[in-house]
Amino acid sequence: MNGAQILIECLKREGVEVMFGYPGGQVLPIFDALYEAPFRFILTRHEQAAAHAADGYARATGKTGVCLATSGPGATNLVTGIATAYMDSIPMVAITGQVKTFLIGNDAFQEADVTGITRPITKHNYLVKDIKELATVIREAFHIANSGRPGPVVVDIPSDIQLAQADFVWPEKVEIRGYKPTLFGHPGQIKKAAKLIAQSKKPIIYAGGGVIISGAHEELIELAEKIKAPVTMTLLGLGAFPVDHDLSLGMLGMHGTAYANFAIMESDLIIAVGARFDDRVTGRVDSFAPGAKVIHIDIDPSSISKNIEVDIPIVGDAKNVLGQLLEEITGPADTGEWLKKVQMYKTRHPLSYKHTDNKIKPQYIIEQLNDLTKGEAIITTEVGQNQMWAAQWYKYIHPRTLISSGGLGTMGFGFPAAMGAKMGCPDKTVIDIAGDGSIQMNIQELATCVCNKINVKVVILNNFYLGMVRQWQELFYKKRYSHTCITGPDFVKLAEAYGAVGIRVTEIKEVRPALEKALAIDNTVFLDFHIEPEENVFPMVPAGEAINKMIGGLA
C-alpha cells in the first residue's frame, strides 16, 4: 500500500464517518485514495469551513472530527478552525499535505512550517518523515485528540510519504509514556469535598463544557438534586443541566443572568465541574465570590488554580469524579434558606427585554424558535450579539445542543459548524443563529450545503451593524460608531443564487410564520430578519468589573 492508502485505511479503522476538506497539489495522492474511501467526503468551499465543520461534527456527536487540506495556504486556512477547537477542547484530527521531505525548508511552492505554526494551537502535532511511522502516528493522533482533555491534533504528511510504499501494520495498542490522563479523582480529595459540601449552607454548582465532553450530565443532575444546590453554566456548559429545571440558574458571567451572578457572588461553596474560571465568567478576579470555598473538578491539572485559588482540587474525568462524589455524599445539606434567596433573585431579576409591536426584537425571534423546536434543535452560533442572545433565550435542555465558539470567539464559525453538526446528526434540526457580519465570513458554504443537500437553517439577526462592537462603542466610546456600520448583500437573492431558499422578514407578525415555513422546507434556508438595529445584550458586566455590577436589563 502507499502512504495515502494507509492513511485512508487508518481513518476507516478509527471509525471515521465523514471528512471535510479541500484538495491541492500536495494532497493529490490522498485524494486519489479517497476516490474509493468507505466514508463520506464533503468538499467545502474554503479550508477554514472544513475545520469548523469537523469541529461542529465533533461537538454534536462527541466523535473526533476530521479535516484535510493541502500544504501552505490550505493548511494556514485551517489555522483559525484549529485554534477554535483548541480553545474549546474539541477532538479533531487535521491532516495537511506537505511538500516532499527533501524540499522541506527550501521555501518550496506552497510550503509553510505547519507544525511550527500550529504548535501553540494544538494538543499535539506530527510531521511524518518515515512511511513506517504513519499508521502509528494516525493511531496516536486519534487517541490524543479524543482522550483526557480533548483537543485538535495536526498530522502533516509530505507528498512523497503519501506515495511511499509500505506494509500496513495496525498498532493494536497506543502507548505514549508522556501521556497518561488521570481519569479518577483521588479518594482523599473526594472525601474532603464531600465533607465541605455537607457543611455548606450556600453551595452553587458551576458547570462547564467538561460536563458535556465527559457525558456527565446525568450525574450532574443527580448531584444537584441530592445536595439541593443551584446550578449555573458557562456558555459551553449550556445543555449540561436542563435550563427549565428548578435548580437551574442558566448562564453566568459577562452576559449571564443577574440571578446566576448574584448567587455565585454570595455562595459559600463553588463546586466547579469541567469549567476553567474564564475571565468572561469571573469578571474582576479579586472580587469574585469572596466568601466562597472552591472545589474544582477538572481533567486538566493546569486549569486548576490558574485563575483563582482552589481549596479542593480534584483532577479527573467529570463523569467519574461526580460518580465518586455521589457515593461519598450521604444526604442533602441544609440549603433551604439559600434556595429561597436564589429563587427570590430569579423572580426579581429575570432575563428581560422591551417588547415592541412595530420593531422585531432578536430575543423575540429566538423565543419563537424555542417554542417551535421545543429545545430539541441543535443551535450553532456565530460570535457577538447573536451568540449571547442565542445563549440567553434558547432553552437548552439536552447536552450537545449548543455549538458555539466560546474560547476563541470566532466569527464565521456557526454556519460551517452547523453543516458539520447536521452531517453528524442528520435527524436533528440544525439552526445557525447568525449576525449579518459573521455570516459573511463563511457565506460561501451555501454552495457546500446545497450541493450536498445539507439542510441547515440560518437565522440572520440583521441589524446592519457589527452589533457587539457597536454596543461597546455606544456604552464605552461615546457612540462613536467607528467602522461598525456594515452593509451586506441581499441575503434572499444570494441564497437563491446558490440554490438555497431565502426569506426576508421585516414585520413582527411575519416572524413566527417565516420560522415555521423555514423549518418545513427541505433545503438550506437563509432567514433575513431585519431587527431593531441598536438593540443591546443585557445584562452586561463591563470588562474588569465584579460580576454583580451589571448594567442594563435589571428589572
Binding site: T115, G116, R119, P120, K123, H124, L127, I144, I176, R177, G178, Y179, D300, P301, S302, S305, K306
Partner: protein, 157 residues
Amino acid sequence: MKHTISVLVENKFGVLARISGLFSARGYNIDSLAVGETEDPSVSRMTIVVNAADERILEQIKKQLNKLIDVISVLDLTKKKHYDRELIMAKINFSKTLEPKISKITKRLPVKIIHRNKDSYVIEAVLDQEQAKDLMASLEEIGIKELARTGRIALEP
C-alpha cells in the same frame, strides 16, 4: 525566585521548540536551559532555570510542561537535595599587572587556563552557583572580553 527544573523529554525533533514556545507564549522567563541525551538515547534531559514571581506561576509552569505529550516527567529540584553545575568559559584580559589577580582566582576556585594569548587568557571552570557568582565578580575586575556559559545542569544524589 529561581527554580531548577529537570525535565525528561522524548528525544525527537521539535521538542525544544515546544518547550521554548510554551515559555514565550505564556510569558514565563527562562534564565537558562541546557539539553542533552540521557543514559537512554530516546530520552533527553532538559535542565531549565526559571524565574517565577510566585508559587502559582511556578505551579503553572510545571503543569503546562507536564501537559506536553513529549514531556515524560517534570521534577522541581529546588527544594530537593541536588547537585548543580555549570561550565563557564571566558576570554579575559591578561597583562603582567593582572597576573597576581588571576593566579589568586585560580588558587581559590577550580579554574583552568586552557589558552594563553599575549594580552588575553581563555579559562574554563565547572562550578556550582555560589562559585559561579564568585568567579563572575572576580572576572569583572580583570575584564571579560568574551563569555560563554552552558547554563545549569543538575542531578539528585
